[in-house]
């Protein structure tokens, strides 16, 4: 049966060519020299896409995701952190700039930070045990109807397990050590809007539960199947709806199918000389529909905006019918914006199928930068001032000292861009950096984009402000390295898991005046909770300010600890995360800036948006989907 389904949809495959293409996008962050626009041949031809083939475009991720992606961890099979025979840390693969490099100080950092030891290793199950997988229960009538639509589907255990989860710690832990109680019964791969309409109709007809699946990068338990769901669960994988339908250069918009993933979208647009500029850290894997469904935020939002600023038009298929607007305009006053019911709906209302999104000409010039501050307080004050003067670069991030040290521990042995920052700093420290304590200082990384002259001007403005706050420019390399690490950091958790270290990140948004208090208190709370819960070794608890706004900032926390000696680490972990979230809320932070609520943070929704607010959302849900076809139980 699975074979039949596969046949129905051509597979993209993880060809080296696609890998290369993907790399080009990421390399923007990795390359030393700035990229100039106009070097790539521009072929703006919207009609081609529009009139193009009905089949999906060849994406970077194949339909059989397990072919190139880890089944029990983050990212590509070939990319991971390991300890080589010499006991040194190394990053494998060729996809990332760090690939193949040895990280001499990393082992020591891990041991020091977590009290972990290479001798104490856990091992994941080597592969999925198909016998453990809950059986697929799908009634024959539905299958018949489905086959009639010619839409590709699969009941294969691996396919189903792969779509039963996102990337929360507990989900990965389950993959490594156990099995989900409930997973989708069937995976379907629509290739266009009409396919989705058919599937939703069938689901209504047969009373099935649909869970939309985009890139599977959710970190809110949004993709997890409700255990008590008795109906057949259909995982609606949007990955084959991945074409750019048209590009409108006059209005600078593009209409794109919702399943396209970030790297493909940017790559394809760049072929026409455009970009969306939407770059969440998960952009290698997450999808346009996923961004809309979670209200995602990209690294470069200061120039391009968050998803809600980028979206011009959305088409969504619901059990009640199709919801969309009659025009594609920059703004309209027609009551509450229905887009705002859709954005952040987390798959409970329907499937986003097509999105018209703003595009921009590729930037002529990109420049990284970094600034060292004597302490975190000064750094935050500087970011606040930058925000106040509304001159934030495309990206500006401030990491605390612990994270700075961590970044430093990832320094490879040899590489031009990795010239030893700290060593240089130490020398510097004596001569120029007097008063900078390497155990207190913190670093801001910067990314400027635009035309060359303006970038240079802009750069000067920002550095001038930084100087006022005691900041010292610390070079382009450090900035670039910071952004490069963003993509590989996600791989680290898998390594940690091998050595009894579990960790996760979480985020919030907070008014400016509370940023420092919130950062300090949340970190301290984590440390306390660990102590109280019997964690044997002080945790790694660190934060960075990742986005600035007029009225506040987005703060991102990393938190990891060594769980040796703890019988139920996941439970302990979850309790601590919960305490940290309580702390965030008590400090005037939000429930989420961009990860969303999913099922993980549902318990705080009422507190967050009031009873009535929750009721408003409920009533929309009840109208749009009275039979709870989209029954993933997120949000409400």
């Amino acid at each position: 049966m699975a074979a039949a389904a596969e046949e129905a949809a051509g597979s993209g495959g993880g060809s080296p060519a696609s890998a290369r293409r993907r790399l080009r996008i990421i390399s923007g962050h990795l390359r030393g020299s700035p990229r100039a626009a106009g070097q790539e041949a521009l072929s703006p031809s919207p009609c081609k896409a529009q009139g193009g083939s009905a089949g999906p475009a060849a994406g970077s991720i194949p339909k059989k995701r397990q072919e190139i992606l880890k089944w029990n961890g983050w990212g590509y099979n070939d990319s991971k952190f390991i300890f080589n025979k010499k006991g040194q840390a190394e990053f494998t693969g060729k996809r990332y700039r760090l690939g193949g490099m040895v990280l001499p100080t990393f082992k020591e950092w891990i041991e020091r930070t977590f009290g972990a030891s290479l001798e104490h290793k856990t091992t994941s199950r080597a592969s999925l045990n198909v016998n453990d997988v809950p059986p697929s229960i799908v009634n024959e009538e539905f299958l018949q109807d489905l086959r009639a639509t010619k839409i590709s589907y699969s009941q294969d255990a691996e396919d189903r397990v792969f779509r039963a989860h996102g990337h929360c710690l507990h989900e990965i832990f389950v993959l490594r050590e156990g099995m989900f109680k409930r997973i989708p019964d069937i995976v379907v791969w629509p290739v266009c809007h009409e396919d989705v309409v058919k599937i939703v109709e069938l689901a209504c007809k047969h009373n099935l539960c649909i869970i939309p699946f985009g890139g599977g990068t959710s970190v809110s338990s949004a993709l997890e199947c409700p255990e008590e769901e008795k109906r057949t669960i259909v995982s609606l994988d949007t990955s084959q709806m991945n074409r750019i339908l048209w590009i409108d250069e006059k209005n600078l918009t593009a209409c794109v199918e919702a399943g396209i993933i970030g790297q493909d979208l940017e790559k394809q647009l760049s072929e026409s000389g455009f970009c969306t500029g939407h770059e969440p850290d998960s952009m290698e894997f997450s999808s346009l529909g996923g961004w809309v469904a979670t209200r995602a935020s990209g690294m470069k939002k200061n120039i391009y905006g968050n998803i809600e600023d980028l979206v011009i038009h959305i088409k969504m298929v619901t059990p009640r019918g199709i919801v969309e607007k009659n025009c594609q305009v920059p703004r309209m006053s027609t009551g509450p914006d229905i887009h705002h019911f859709i954005m952040g709906s987390e798959g409970i209302l329907g499937v986003v199928t097509e999105v018209t999104i703003k595009i921009r000409p590729l930037p002529e010039y990109q420049k990284y930068g970094s600034v060292v501050f004597p302490n975190f307080e000064r750094g935050v004050a500087c970011l606040r001032e930058v925000a106040k003067q509304r001159c934030a670069p495309a990206s500006i991030r401030l990491v605390d000292n612990a994270q700075f040290q961590f970044g430093h521990a990832l320094k490879p042995q040899v590489a031009s861009i990795f010239t030893s920052f700290l060593d240089g700093l130490k020398k510097f420290y004596i001569t120029k950096f007097k008063g900078f304590d390497p155990n207190v200082l913190c670093v801001a990384t910067l990314l400027f984009e635009g035309d060359r002259e303006k970038v240079l001007q802009h750069e000067k403005q920002v550095y001038d402000i930084a100087t006022k706050f005691g900041g010292l420019a610390a070079g382009e390399d450090n900035g670039q390295r910071g952004y490069m690490l963003t993509f590989v950091i996600a791989y680290l958790r898998d390594l940690g898991l091998d050595y009894y270290v579990i960790g996760e990140s979480f985020e919030t948004s907070v008014p400016w005046d509370r940023v420092l208090d919130l950062c300090r208190n949340v970190k301290e709370r984590i440390v306390r909770e660990c102590k109280e819960k019997g964690v044997q070794f002080a945790p790694f608890s660190t934060c960075r300010v990742t986005q600035t706004y007029d009225a506040g900032a987005c703060v991102y926390f990393y938190f990891a600890f060594n769980y040796r000696g703890i019988s139920d680490p996941i439970h302990v972990y979850e309790e601590i995360e919960r305490a940290a979230r309580e702390e965030i809320l008590a400090n005037g932070g939000s429930l989420s800036h961009h990860h969303g609520v999913g099922k993980l943070r549902k318990r705080w929704m009422k507190e967050s948006i009031s009873d009535v607010g929750l009721g408003m959302l409920r009533s929309v849900k009840e109208y749009v989907d009275p039979n709870n076809i989209f029954g993933n139980k997120n949000l409400l």
Partner: protein, 730 residues
């Protein structure tokens, strides 16, 4: 002269590690940033490792809201307390000058960025909080902000401390001299100091000592100096500034001054609150103030004031600090310096205005002996733990934090609960001397009592007190006779042994006018009761049950409880009860009475046992002065004919009334002459709704609801049962 460093301070040793408490750590994976230093010092201390720290374990975590209050029933007997160490001992052995000049490098808050007292003032002045109020007032009054700013500067100058090490050293020297003169010993629980040492490094600390004497004032500073801990800043009443030199000295020793009432003055409030909070947030110094607000003239804990407490709690509510430690500290005096002054004051002989010359006159007392002081530094209580799950912080999230914001009811209730909890913790660790027991026995056996019987009764009372959880400092090897004797010697101004009998020392009573006799007797009795009073908060729950049993004439539990809770309400300003847990208090009272075999309880009934009648009648006799006193005062009010009266009119009025009755011999209740009792009784009536209190331009005015007062009197006289819906849960 360079301060010699040879003779180090006496820093506390490192306490054993204990989970969930301040001061854990030192070694291993959880090594704190500055643990090393503290540990080193600890180890260097004379004598090396200390005996294991006793588990003074009442960090009773606040659970949910009312109903499961954060004050849980005490572990009454299993409670183990720290041992004491006399810090004067070393003072008697070595040079005070050297001690005053010792190398002082205190342990400080981990997040401290040190700054000078004047820098704090300018931070306060520039703060958004103060600037906001200045602008606001300028707008409202059409004044230029500069003028109001000037005013703020003046307020700050009047208020601010200017702590100087030199002055501290001066006090270290003079206080050593004075203390050695006045007191036999100054004892402190060193484990408490150790806990404090860790607490100070971890979070901002608020020191909450009991207040019985002026001596309290610099006592903690003296202690912290001795133990090489950061010196506190101390909230003092503005009246001190009346004494030019002393006021200025105190200021330099870390005192900051607070006007007695500034309810209406927004600028003052803003400046004051911000001043305190700035010091707290920065961890500049431990902040010390007296929850009771003023020295208790009766040695009974006064009901708490909430103003300062709510100020120091706010930075935590607003999450400007991670946590704040509240440290209850019990300072107990074997003999109170001001004992006779207090008695005069209570009888309406005006308190001499604080003046330097007055204090100098006090030099006379330097030749006297005031026994031992015990300072018990309680377990630091984490405000965060108390608040967890109780407080909705949303209101703080929705308003910028620098705006003045009236605390929600939630918060007010919480502040009040915390205040009471801290006072109860103070009470728990108050040290009771044998003399306190003697005084309690003696007052029930006036005018004279057989010495042997007194000893016997005292020993009996000692047992009872311990059963009730009282903390008696009675050396194991000290025989009862000696203990009683030494009490009598120390307090010979109150009682004396004459021909095998112990009598009150009211010399000169025999000859003189009746009025004079009554007055002198009252003086002695009030002084004596000051010592008995130290027992009352330990005894109040079982005693009110005992009284209720007598009042009720029935053994039905619910009726006894009704009477109990009536009494508890009436005496709510007289004794310290955790708000809103009448039933728990009742149960505790019953539990303690059962424990000493005084009563038996069944599902529905409570009755005294045969041998229990001794206990029951002793307990009710102990509180009889209050019952009778209140009745007298109520009766006086029931005869009040004026529409409205002020406290100034009420006090002399009721005093005269009681005085006449005493002269006539119709009553023996001398304690009803105490203005403290009179005020409490009036406050009780206000709370019970029998007296209306109205705010007037120049203070408060009161008017009596006759019907209500009569009803209350009837209940007291047991003419009518308590009419009150009873908790069906009983």
């Amino acid at each position: 002269m360079a301060p010699p460093t040879a003779r180090g301070p006496r820093p506390p040793a490192r306490p054993p590690q204990r989970a969930g408490q301040p001061g854990r750590g030192g070694v291993g994976p959880w090594a704190p940033q500055r643990g090393g230093r503290a540990a080193e010092r600890g180890a260097a201390r004379r004598g090396g490792a200390r005996r294991a720290m006793a588990a003074a374990a009442t960090t009773a975590a606040g659970r949910a809201r009312r109903g499961t209050p954060m004050f849980s029933q005490k572990e009454l007997t299993s409670k183990k307390r720290d041992e004491f160490e006399d810090i004067l001992e070393e003072r008697r052995l070595s040079s005070d000058l050297r001690y005053a000049m010792k190398c002082y490098t205190p342990v400080i808050y981990k997040g401290l960025s040190p700054c000078k007292p004047n820098a704090i003032k300018s931070v306060v002045l520039q703060s958004e909080q103060v600037q906001y109020v200045i602008k606001q007032l300028a707008k409202e009054m059409g004044e230029s902000p500069d003028i109001i700013q000037e005013e703020a500067v003046e307020i700050l100058d009047e208020m601010g401390h200017s702590m100087q090490l030199g002055t501290v050293r001066f006090f270290a020297f003079t206080l050593s001299k004075i203390f050695k003169q006045l007191f036999q010993r100054v004892c402190v629980n060193e484990e408490g100091m150790q806990r404090l040492q860790h607490a100070i490094q971890e979070h901002p600390v608020v020191l909450l000592p009991s207040h019985r004497s002026y001596v309290d004032f610099l006592m903690l500073s003296y202690l912290l100096y001795t133990y090489d801990l950061a010196l506190p800043v101390i909230a003092a009443g503005i009246d001190f500034l009346g004494m030019k030199i002393v006021g200025e000295l105190l200021r330099r020793a870390g005192a900051f001054f607070m006007r007695r009432s500034f309810g209406g003055n927004r600028l003052y409030w803003a400046v004051f609150a911000e001043y305190v909070k700035t010091m707290l947030r920065n961890g500049y110094a431990p902040i010390e103030f007296f929850l009771e607000g003023t020295r208790s003239r009766t040695a009974k804990t006064l009901t708490p004031k909430f103003g300062l407490l709510s100020i120091v709690m706010e930075p935590f509510f607003k999450r400007e600090v991670f946590d704040t430690y509240l440290v209850p500290i019990s300072i107990s005096y074997e003999r109170i310096l001001e004992e006779s002054l207090y008695a005069y004051e209570l009888l309406g002989v005006p308190k001499p205005k604080e003046s330097t010359s007055g204090l100098l006159k006090a030099r006379r007392i330097l030749s006297d002996n005031f026994g031992t002081i015990h300072i018990y530094v309680g377990q630091p209580v984490s405000l965060r733990t108390l608040a967890s799950g109780r407080i909705n912080l949303c209101p703080y999230n929705l308003v910028p934090r620098h705006l003045p914001q009236k605390p929600t009811e939630d918060i007010q209730e919480f502040v009040s609960d915390v205040a009471y909890k801290m006072e109860l913790l103070q009470i728990e660790n108050m040290v009771l001397s044998p003399w306190v027991l003697v005084a309690a026995v003696l007052l029930q056996n006036l005018p004279a009592m057989d010495f042997e019987l007194l000893i016997e009764k005292t020993v009996w009372l000692k047992g009872l007190t311990q059963t009730f959880g009282g903390f008696i400092e009675w050396p194991d090897n000290l025989c009862a006779k000696k203990a009683v004797m030494s009490g009598l010697t120390l307090h010979s101004n109150i009682a004396r042994l004459i021909n095998g009998h112990v009598v009150l020392n009211d010399k000169g009573v025999e000859d003189g006018a009746v009025g004079e006799i009554v007055f002198k007797r009252a003086l002695v009795i009030l002084m004596c009761s000051t010592y008995r009073n130290q027992l009352l908060n330990v005894f109040v729950r079982p005693s009110l049950v005992a009284l209720a049993l007598q009042m009720t004439r029935s053994f039905r539990k619910e009726e006894v409880y009704s009477s109990f809770s009536f009494l508890r309400d009436v005496f709510s300003d007289e004794f310290i009860f955790f708000p809103g847990i009448s039933l728990k208090d009742f149960e505790e009272g019953c539990f303690l009475l059962t424990k000493c075999d005084a009563i038996q309880t069944t599902q529905q009934e409570i009755y005294p046992t045969d041998k229990g009648s001794v206990v029951v009648s002793f307990l009710s006799a102990m509180f009889r002065p209050f019952v009778e006193g209140y009745q007298l005062i109520f009766r006086y009010l029931s005869k009040e004919t004026k529409e409205a009266f002020t406290e100034k009119q009420f006090i002399p009025g009721v005093r005269n009334y009681v005085f006449q009755l005493l002269e006539k011999g119709t009553t023996q209740c001398y304690e009803a002459l105490s203005s403290d009792m009179q005020k409490n009784a009036l406050a009780a009536l206000v709370q019970l709704g029998a007296v209306k209190k109205k705010k007037m331009s120049n203070g408060f005015s009161y008017s009596v609801n006759q019907e209500a007062i009569h009803k209350i009197l009837d209940v007291f006289d047991a003419r009518t049962p308590v009419q009150k819906p009873v908790a069906a849960r009983l």
